[in-house]
């Protein structure tokens, strides 16, 4: 990736080949062993939660354990490199555990326009989504990012890591067939200044 002083204004940055196909298989295996729950949105002043129709997703949190240490280390290295080359934000680590996310065709999985910039438990500054499914194995379910006037769809390539500032509006369009899996992580740091 070439350094571009203005790249931080592009809707998103893509890092390919962060993981081998075998490693991607291993991530999916780890994720599929977890108990997937219907995702709940937290928003508003009181952090109220509701069964919100704007998001239909199954998620599970993938903690840092002996089994996942390699995954955390790799992700840290890649996010750090993207940040050094493009965003240069002050970052202190990940805001949350890694989120394994599954969109099912039969549930009409999707996630409406939103930003990730929440401040609890830590101030999220960069969002990253790793494509875990073969693009041909599902229809719809595009990660769209609102960088300029019109939204731009992120690449569907398996293994592509899509990185963008947590304040950028994005959505996942409804899935029409198949299943899409992704690993979503957020890097945190002191508030923007």
């Amino acid at each position: 990736m070439q350094h571009d002083p203005h790249a931080y204004l592009t809707p998103f940055v893509v890092w390919e080949n962060a993981f081998t196909p075998q490693e991607l298989d291993a991530i999916v295996t780890l994720g599929d062993r977890l108990r997937l729950e219907k995702a709940v949105l937290v928003y508003g002043e009181g952090g109220s939660t509701t069964d919100d129709p704007s998001r239909i997703t199954r998620t599970a949190w993938m903690g840092r354990a002996a089994e996942t240490a390699w995954l955390y280390e790799r992700m840290e290295r890649v996010i750090r490199a993207v940040n050094q080359q493009v965003y240069r934000f002050d970052l202190t680590g990940f805001s949350d555990l890694f989120q394994y996310t599954v969109y099912h065709g039969e549930e009409g999985g999707h996630f409406d326009w939103h930003v990730d910039q929440i401040r609890q438990p830590a101030h999220r500054k960069l969002s990253a989504s790793l494509q875990l499914s073969d693009p041909g194995s599902y229809e719809g379910c595009d990660l769209e990012i609102q960088g300029g006037v019109k939204p731009v769809a992120a690449p569907r390539t398996r293994g592509a890591l899509v990185v963008f500032p947590a304040y950028v509006l994005h959505r996942v369009t409804p899935i029409r067939a198949g299943t899409r899996k992704a690993l979503v992580v957020w890097a945190a740091g002191p508030p923007f200044r």
Partner: protein
């Protein structure tokens, strides 16, 4: 300032009574004397701007001169106070002259979704909009802001004299004006890139 509550969940903050009604009249009188030009919007090719207009507005720039010094000074003071209370950004000053903006119903004035961040050594970091028209004197033309942890865009207050501020990376738009004319004074505070 009515920036009550937890700003982490809000997409913008509001400052009231920055100017007296007489001062607002003076700002409008000054703006109306300027030659208003059709605003152009700069977007990179390939970003989807295409042939669809994304903005129909008349704008003019307020130079910083003896006649406008009081406006600049007041806005600077408010921008600084608001930044100290809410955002805590590194700022060096305004990025551009103050922009006087007019949306007219006879041309269907509007400004589609966009963010204000631009490529610059000192990019825009905070955006401000001061309402100069009586809320009842026009229809439509809402400044809508989509950020924070709201699930949908939120319309900014329309009251004359209200100033709205939000980070320049936040998506916002002005819906089409369907009756009357809306005037606003828009400006941006700049500083070193976010970190």
């Amino acid at each position: 300032m009515s920036a009550a509550g937890n700003i982490s969940t809000q997409s913008f903050v509001v400052w009231e009574n920055a100017f007296s009604p007489q001062e607002l009249d003076a700002i409008v009188a000054y703006g109306d004397r300027l030659r208003l030009e059709k605003a152009s919007v700069i977007y990179e090719p390939g970003q989807g701007g295409g042939k669809d207009p994304v903005r129909i507005t008349r704008t003019a720039w307020f130079p910083r001169v003896a006649e406008t010094a009081w406006i600049y000074e007041r806005l600077e003071r408010i921008a600084l106070a608001l930044n100290q209370q809410v955002y805590h950004y590194d700022l060096v000053g305004f990025s551009d002259p103050l922009q006087y903006t007019v949306y007219q119903d006879d041309e269907g004035g509007f400004f589609d979704w966009h963010a204000d961040q631009l490529e610059a050594p000192m990019p825009r970091k905070l955006s401000f909009s001061l309402q100069l028209s009586e809320a009842g004197s026009y229809e439509g033309c809402d400044l809508e802001i989509f950020g924070g942890s709201t699930r949908a865009p939120v319309a900014a207050p329309r009251e004359r004299g209200i100033m709205v501020a939000f980070p320049s990376y936040v998506m916002h738009r002005v819906t089409p004006v369907t009756r009357g004319t809306r005037k606003a004074l828009v400006f941006w505070a700049a500083g070193p890139r976010f970190r």
